[in-house]
């Protein structure tokens, strides 16, 4: 009998549910954050035994919570165990997004979703010398990854079904911990929950708003100590990962003292800032295509000095151009159906209006309520007479506006 054994791929051996090995380091196991573009920035996903801090200083929006909801939805959809710690965890989970048809399918390409959002791109004729170039892309889609359950497609217009939540709670797939009580014991409760879970199932710990008013009035040192304990817990449980969000008022150094955000970021493996433009209306006017900026403070590197994102991230742009001078600016926008992170580019030179000429008011192509194209009829003679009158009016106005120069002697 032959002793030949087919070498099995790393994807199928020893990997947990909805995870994949990092292409950068085979010993690093990644799980999706629920947002394909955020996975790209993190280096393929959030590594197990690592934690992510999402800082959201914008008080007029809740993009930070939105990222946490993606994290929870991805965990529920992938069959992973999810532990949510919040002052009202049931309400938070009930607001998480879900897929449109209830059937959890892998993420589709962004072209389909863009068409549904009304951003349909029409085919334009371009010069032949540019035909071989790829279309300009500002983000990544999950389609570049194999079609598996790593990153699901969620629709912001849909919520997770109530019966699914009840079933998940009943089966202990979803664990809800109330932080309004003695939150100092939360780590012990989470540890108990991790202890009962099977090692074959990854565990996601989600804290949407760490230290929010529902938690009481924590001191900055209490928050740091809690995070330190959380990191210790993740070190002991290598099949778990965590995503933590900060309330807007805590997302500034003035709350915790000098270096507050740096201290907190040091205790996390990855730390990012999602700042909405609503804080500064000038930014909203300057960048109408985006809803906020995305800044990176730290990236996970659990088994190497260099983060995998530096080598593999398409959005950051460091890997694409060896020895490049810098990385791309990244912004985000929240459409009707999804949240996406994109490279942040300036608009066309001079702004939005310089190169684009809008149609005249009288000639605007429109459609009536029946969807038929509108039609306006004008006689040629009338247009010609109107044009001639306008030209004569302009000529006379220019003549009257000429500056008259006279010498002082003429006035006497």
């Amino acid at each position: 009998m032959s002793t030949f054994k087919r070498k099995s791929s790393s994807k199928s051996v020893g990997l947990l549910a909805a995870t994949r090995a990092s292409p950068f380091s085979s010993s690093t196991i990644l799980t999706s954050s629920g947002i394909a573009s955020l996975d790209d920035i993190l280096g393929g996903g959030l590594p197990l035994s690592c934690s992510l801090l999402v800082i959201a200083p914008d008080t007029h929006s809740s993009y930070g919570e939105l990222v946490q909801k993606y994290f929870v939805s991805q965990g529920l959809a992938s069959g992973q165990k999810v532990c949510v710690i919040d002052s009202n965890p049931r309400q938070f989970v009930s607001e998480c997004m879900w897929s449109s048809n209830g059937v959890l399918s892998p993420s589709v390409t962004t072209e389909v979703e863009d068409k549904e959002d009304g951003n349909e791109t029409t085919k334009v004729e371009i010069a032949w010398r540019y035909e071989h170039l790829k279309p300009f892309q500002t983000t990544v889609s999950a389609s570049k990854f194999p079609a598996d359950d790593f990153c699901r497609a969620f629709d912001l217009t849909y919520r997770v079904p109530r019966h699914f939540l009840d079933q998940a709670i009943q089966s202990s797939q979803l664990v809800l911990l109330d932080a309004s009580g003695d939150w100092t014991r939360l780590i012990d409760l989470v540890a108990e929950s991790l202890g009962t879970s099977q090692d074959a199932v990854p565990v996601r710990i989600c804290i949407p708003l760490l230290g929010s008013p529902g938690w009481g009035d924590p001191h900055p040192k209490d928050v740091l100590q809690f995070v330190y304990s959380l990191r210790t817990l993740l070190r002991r449980c290598p099949h778990a990962c965590a995503s933590v969000g900060l309330p807007p008022y805590m997302s500034a150094d003035r709350w915790g003292g000098p270096g507050w955000l740096n201290k907190l970021s040091w205790l996390f493996d990855a730390s990012v800032t999602i700042a909405g433009f609503s804080v500064d209306p000038a930014l909203s006017l300057r960048f109408p295509s985006y809803h906020g900026s995305f800044n990176i403070r730290a990236l996970p590197a659990p088994h190497s000095l260099l983060s995998a994102s530096d080598k593999t991230s398409t959005l950051r742009g460091i890997a694409t151009v060896p020895g490049s001078s810098g990385e791309n600016n990244i912004a985000f926008k929240c459409t009707r159906k999804r949240l996406v992170f994109e490279t942040h580019h300036l608009d066309a030179e001079g702004g939005v209006g310089e190169r684009r000429t809008g149609t005249a008011e009288g000639e605007r192509a429109g459609s009536n309520s029946r969807g038929l194209a509108g039609l306006e009829v004008e006689l040629e003679g009338e247009r010609a007479m109107e044009a001639a009158a306008a030209a004569e009016r302009i000529r006379t106005e220019s003549l009257t506006k000429r500056k008259q120069v006279r010498f002082r002697g003429d006035l006497i």
Binding site: L224, S229, S304, G323
Partner: protein, 243 residues
């Protein structure tokens, strides 16, 4: 200069202090120091006290640096203390001090007495203040640690995070007074780059009695670029992106 050796800075009179910032972590210097020390002193002993990096990361990076850390751990040449897991109650809220950790370190140092030159790497010290220990306790711990190593001729390297560069605390000021060399890992003022990860400045400490081996001022800082498991050093303007 296209190379930077941390092990050549080690002296028994005081520690080498490594300060870094969030945008420019200095853990690569600790891994480089361990690798250089193990290769230069195969029979030497090393104690690693870690509050930030876990053992898996140390093993992964050391395996690409040319030595088998797992084997060294089994032989007893390297002792690794993972502070968060071995001392989970090390927080003021649970009425514990840093004394148990200090006693453990002293015990390990005592076991090295009379042996070949030894190295102790302490990564990282500022965390204790962040989780609630007072500056006085942490500074006393630092003094005791430095004294124990100096008394037993153990080389010491300490990493300290600078969370607010414009607002240094008293602990780092005390460490600067106790150190022989201060390696400052600085981020680029222009932000992250694919060609340059950060800069290194080297300052002689107050305790250093002999002529410093070399000094690198901030204005002429040595730049480095991180690889997967090591760093490459080069002078300003001599990086691959420029050449």
């Amino acid at each position: 200069m296209s190379s930077f050796s941390v092990s050549e800075l080690l002296t028994s009179t005081g520690p080498v202090l490594i300060t870094d910032q969030l945008a420019s972590p200095g853990d690569f210097l600790l891994h480089q120091l361990l690798s250089e020390y193990v290769k230069s002193s195969p029979d030497g002993k090393c104690i690693i006290i870690s509050t930030s990096q876990d053992l898996a990361r140390w093993k992964a990076i050391s395996s690409r640096s040319g030595f088998n850390m797992a084997q060294k751990l089994e032989q007893g040449s390297i002792v690794f203390v993972d502070v968060p897991t071995q001392f989970p109650d090390l927080s003021p809220s649970k009425e514990t001090t840093l004394l148990p950790l200090l006693n453990l370190i002293r015990r390990y140092i005592g076991e090295l007495r009379g042996a070949t030159p030894s190295l102790l790497i302490f990564d990282e010290l500022a965390l204790f203040q962040w989780i609630g220990h007072s500056e006085l306790d942490v500074s006393r711990f630092a003094r005791a640690l430095v004294a124990s190593c100096a008394k037993n001729d153990v080389f010491l390297a300490i990493r300290y995070h600078i969370a607010a560069p414009d607002d240094l605390d008293n602990t780092v000021r005390i460490l600067l007074q106790l150190s022989t060399y201060h390696i400052e890992v600085l981020p680029l003022s222009s932000g992250k780059s694919g060609a340059v990860s950060g800069e290194i400045a080297l300052h002689p400490g107050s305790v250093l009695t002999s002529t410093p081996r070399w000094v690198i001022s901030r204005s002429r800082a040595l730049q480095y670029r991180l690889g997967e498991y090591h760093a490459t050093y080069f002078e300003r303007g001599t990086g691959n992106a420029v050449l």
